[in-house]
Amino acid sequence: MSADVSIPSTSPPSTSGAIATRESYGKALVELGKERRDVIVLDADLSGSTKTGDFAKAFPDRFFNIGVAEANMTGIAAGLSFTGLTVFCSSFAMFAAGKAYEQVRQEVALPNANVKICATHAGLTVGEDGASHQMLEDLALMRVLPNMRVFVPADGRETEQVIRAVAGFKGPAYVRLSRMKTPLFIPAGNRFEVGVATRLRDGNCLTLIGTGVTSWHALQAASLLAAEGIEARVLNMSTIKPLDEAAVLAAAEETAGIVTVEEAQAACGLGGAVAEVVTSGRPCPVLRLGMRDRFGESGDGLALLEHFGLTAPHIARAARELLAKT
């Protein structure tokens, strides 16, 4: 069931206080550290960028900088968790999920370790650093690991709730965070729950599903479509795994089709997960927007989203195409 936050489809959400989800992550960790002595944080020489540095300053005895050694950091995180601690470990998504993938599988997912991998600078919107640093495959990689739960908070407020939620259960989590600032567009009254999509906008023509920063662009696309008389339902899918299958199936049942949007490979991530659910549950057209089997390049984050067809006008066009086929 998706949480209906009852936003009137005519009023635009607040865009005040744009903040990168990594910033909120740093703040949330400090708050958690004040409350819980079992919270330990690791970083691999990127604590300034991932914002774990805030925690390091507040709780130096519960922070370990492991240096530029992500594989080792991941194993250490698992070992710490086996002594009863709740461990957050951070690096850029490229390294936390990519370089250390085997360690994540063997020492975090397989042992069901209480390790929360909070990977910042994920996706296309890391921007100027270019293709080598634009992690586009992490959702696919993490989603297929047994025991792993996968989250992509959409804005700063939701990030704080997601961090609190992952600290609240035993077992592995992968939290995908971004460098690009996004508006606080998830309504303040919304309460994040693991595995529950948030319905950002009602509509029965078709459904747009975003995750992370793309939820904002999906919402903007819905406004464009509304001006043409197309009422799109918008879901913010901040839990990729376990996926809110009920919300997806309801969308398949009640609307003409689904457009998914992610700043990741269009294969095997959000779009893949949604397609898997509808094909076996309630087949409907699914149009997956994301990177089409290619790497990114340097540029401003927003310019890249525009260039690769992931902003509101592109999403709206995809929606029209989907409707034209049905």
Binding site: D61, I66, G75
Partner: protein
């Protein structure tokens, strides 16, 4: 550790170390090591796959660690938070660990004969979901040592005095992650961590010096900031002495580089790379044991090579049963005297060239 809103923000970093145990009974340790080796061979015979070489080679070290009073554990409380941890980072030699855990009482000895079979508590590589007494999941080289370091830091952060022991190997020294771990452990002064390296110069594809020589491991570990010792891994007194020296070290992690001979004491396995991952066949009947390598089944006959015959010395014992068994498999009966599990092998019979 439970959540506490009023918890202090810093954890104690000075933890009183455990005191070293009194000197062990070395004759008893030698007897245990011999029995563990025989069980390793029997396990692998029944499993028909697995890694005998390193399991046999490290039997003296791990017997001393587990039965010489060094590892503080309680088989009745496998999850006791303050227990010493043991992480077998070169997890493929888990048969020796499993024989130890069975003897310690973590599970019945009969479970040993189920190694690697569907539904067995004994997985092909260590997995704590299945096996009591195992502290994590290992097998992919390079990973376990990092987990061990995490455990050591976790103990220190929480003011616990347990020690972490990790088993590693010269083969694992080819993994970059081992050296990431070595760097971090020294930097964070993890003096409650001891790594034992099986330095037998053998890995799957051949001799370490041929495949990818790791060179002077003592100099390397020392350069990384560790307290390093090189010992004869089959000398129980030297092993005990090395543990004692490691125990006394403060402010620095310790490594014990154990020169071992792969396959000890099975003569035809000694220092032979092929025995890293080859399995053996053991037939027992009465006091006699025939041990050899399963080669092929040709027609209705089992062909073996590298066969040795162990006679426990009771020559008057009827041999009809095992002779019949061997004949059944088409194996010529050879008489030899093979003191299985002891240091000497007086005769080895080769049926065919390997």
């Amino acid at each position: 550790m439970s959540a506490s809103p009023t918890a202090p923000t810093s954890a104690p970093t000075v933890v009183p170390a455990r005191t070293a145990p009194p000197p062990p009974d070395f004759d008893r340790l030698a007897a245990i090591a011999r029995e563990l080796r025989i069980d390793v061979l029997r396990m692998l015979e029944k499993a028909a796959s697995g890694h005998p070489g390193g399991s046999l080679g490290m039997a003296d070290i791990y017997t001393t660690l587990w039965f010489g009073g060094w590892l503080e554990v309680d088989p009745q409380r496998p999850d006791w938070p303050e227990r010493d941890r043991f992480v077998l980072s070169n997890g493929h030699i888990c048969p020796i660990l499993y024989t130890i855990l069975a003897r310690k009482g973590y599970f019945p000895r009969e479970d040993l004969w189920t190694l690697r079979k569907l539904g067995s508590p004994l997985q092909g590589h260590p997995d704590f979901h299945h096996t009591k007494g195992v502290d994590c999941c290992t097998g992919s080289l390079g990973n376990g040592v990092s987990v061990a370091l995490g455990m050591a830091l976790g103990g220190r952060v929480q003011g616990q005095r347990f020690r972490v022991w990790a088993g590693s190997s010269d083969g694992e020294a080819q993994e970059g992650q081992l050296w990431e771990m070595a760097t971090a452990a020294a930097h964070h002064k993890a003096d409650n961590l001891t790594v034992i390296v099986d330095w037998n110069n053998i890995q799957i594809d051949g001799f370490n010096t041929d495949v990818m020589w790791v060179r002077d491991l003592k100099a390397k570990w020392e350069a990384f900031g560790w307290h390093a010792q090189v010992i004869d891994g089959h000398d129980l007194r030297a092993i005990d002495g090395a543990f004692r020296a490691a125990y006394a070290v403060r402010g620095q992690p310790q490594v014990i580089l154990a020169k071992t001979v792969l396959g000890t004491p099975v003569s035809f396995m000694l220092n032979k790379p092929k025995w890293h991952g080859q399995t053996v066949v053991v037939f027992t009947s009465g006091p006699r044991t025939v041990i050899g390598r399963w080669d092929a089944i040709v027609g209705d006959q089992l062909e073996m090579r590298d066969v040795a015959v162990h006679d426990s010395g009771r020559d008057d014992e009827p041999q009809a049963a095992w002779v019949a068994r061997l004949k059944q498999f088409g194996i010529p009966v050879q008489h030899g005297s093979f003191a299985l599990g002891a240091a000497e092998v007086t005769r080895v019979v080769r049926l065919r060239d390997a």
